[in-house]
């Protein structure tokens, strides 16, 4: 495997912020160096959305009506697709064990890895979403809400997904298991995310949806790394 660039966290410097940046930077560099992975997730996102017009027919009214839902469901599946890489490579080559033994708390390391994962696979989805909404003919009034909902919702997808990825480490058929564990937990994000776009289009305003999406992300921000770190510890034990 690739030599991890900054594996060795300086034991002498207890600065948590520095440790956080080191891990996030390492993961970012690794995924950018391997390149393809993030691009493939994006390609899957676009391709899966493009499948829907073939499935339901090209009538603009139908596509415009289901567009926001299609984009959100597909975003969920795309996020899922990249999740199994989150801890697995580090688990298999032993660097996860090294990270767990490092002086920085494992929760922080996990949060850094989640951030790197979101930057590579969540943020691009949010940026790409309006383009897909355009293809499907979603009402332009929904675009700001779509981008805002994606920006607030995809961090939750990475955070909640990290719990599933950590729990399924070392399991049999971990890929399928991961989707079974994570997809039910994603339902609130899906409902609120797609609802935000619809509310914006119908003129009701997406504010309440976006506020609750933000609240979910704020709650998941401390809780998900806690649960994921606990799961990783028992996977390494």
């Amino acid at each position: 495997m690739v030599e991890p660039p900054s594996m060795h966290l300086p034991a002498s410097s207890p600065s948590l912020g520095r440790a956080f940046c080191l891990v996030a930077g390492r993961d970012l560099r690794l995924s950018l160096r391997q390149g393809g992975d993030a691009a493939m997730v994006l390609a899957f996102f676009i391709l899966a959305v493009i499948l829907f017009p073939f499935g339901v027919g090209p009538e603009p009214a139908v596509l415009a009506r289901i567009g926001s839902g299609v984009i959100w469901v597909t975003a969920l599946l795309s996020a899922l697709l990249s999740l199994d890489r989150l801890f697995l490579a580090d688990f298999e080559d032993g660097s996860l064990e090294a990270l767990a033994l490092a002086p920085a708390p494992l929760e922080l390391v996990v949060l850094a890895k989640i951030l790197a994962h979101w930057l590579v696979s969540g943020l691009p989805l949010a940026i790409l979403a309006p383009l897909l909404a355009l293809i499907l003919g979603v009402d332009a009034a929904g675009y700001p809400a779509l981008v805002a909902a994606m920006a607030l919702g995809t961090p939750s997808l990475s955070l909640i997904g990290a719990i599933g990825a950590a729990l399924s480490l070392g399991a049999r058929r971990s890929g399928v298991l991961l989707s079974l564990l994570v997809l039910p937990l994603y339902i609130p994000v899906l409902i609120l995310g797609a609802g935000a776009v619809e509310a914006a289009i119908s003129g009701l305003g997406a504010r309440p949806h976006l506020l609750i999406l933000a609240a979910i992300a704020a709650a998941a921000l401390p809780l998900a790394p806690l649960a994921a770190a606990a799961a990783i510890r028992q996977a390494l034990a």
Partner: protein, 255 residues
């Protein structure tokens, strides 16, 4: 060996309690059945089809209560590392899953004459469907590892995550439902229930709850015996290896 001290006491206590619990369950379920089928009046709107409520609502209650007990047992297992709590959580899950399935099927059978369709995206039924998949995920995770301790720990963490997420799922599904459907749509097991229907419902719900307790105790006893069996076989295999008694004997004990 201190780990076996508690299960031993549990085995003794549960053996004493179980017959009484089984008798009480049978009596309550019998009484509930009589009340539900013969005593409870037909509904002025739904007619006799309201009798489905007496199995549907208790099943829904038990499906939720079983997940809650699964989460409580998981918390105890994680915090105090109590071996009985692990077993309780694992054995509560299949019971909860079965009652969730019963709730979904009876809800569908009740919905057909009420809504004219086998499935409507009613908020309660939809939440139950999600709960069913939470159960399936838990059971799949617990059984996905070769090391059973590992499965138990992972399952406990998942159960706690699920119990935190469940109210959020319930809230968002309710919200989604009110946004997408007119409020006048008939809901299964609505909040307004006549007293003459409440008594049979409560007896049935209590009967279902005792049934859960009975089956849970039985399953926990079976699980403890199964663990003991594995420990015995391991000890036997080790002894056979140490004294070179021959692999034939060790292999025979597995069968």
């Amino acid at each position: 060996m201190h780990r076996f001290a508690n299960p031993t006491r549990f085995m003794r206590a549960s053996a004493l309690v179980l017959p009484w619990l089984a008798v009480a369950t049978a009596l309550l379920l019998g009484a509930g059945l009589l009340l539900a089928l013969f005593v409870a009046p037909p509904d002025y709107q739904q007619g006799e089809s309201v009798r489905i409520m007496y199995v549907h609502v208790p099943a829904a209650w038990l499906a939720s209560a079983a997940y809650l007990s699964l989460a409580v047992a998981s918390a105890i297992a994680l915090i105090w590392r109590h071996p009985l709590a692990d077993i309780a959580a694992q054995e509560a899950a299949p019971i909860g899953a079965v009652f969730t399935a019963i709730c979904l099927l009876s809800g569908s059978l009740w919905g057909k004459p009420m809504w004219g369709a086998w499935w409507v995206w009613d908020a309660r039924l939809t939440s139950m469907l999600v709960l069913f998949f939470l159960y399936l995920g838990y059971i799949a995770l617990v059984n996905a590892f070769d090391d059973e301790e590992r499965g138990a720990r992972a399952g406990a963490i998942l159960a706690l995550v699920g119990v935190v997420d469940l109210p959020i799922i319930k809230f968002s599904v309710d919200w989604w439902n009110t946004l997408h459907q007119p409020a006048s749509v008939f809901r299964l097991g609505g909040p307004t229930i006549a007293v003459s229907m409440l008594a049979p419902l409560l007896v049935m719900a209590l009967g279902f709850t005792l049934f859960f307790a009975t089956v849970l105790l039985l399953r926990m006893r079976a699980a403890i015996l199964a663990r003991k069996l594995r420990a015995l076989r391991r000890a036997e295999a080790e002894a056979a290896g140490r004294f070179a008694a021959g692999p034939r004997d060790a292999a025979g004990s597995v069968l």
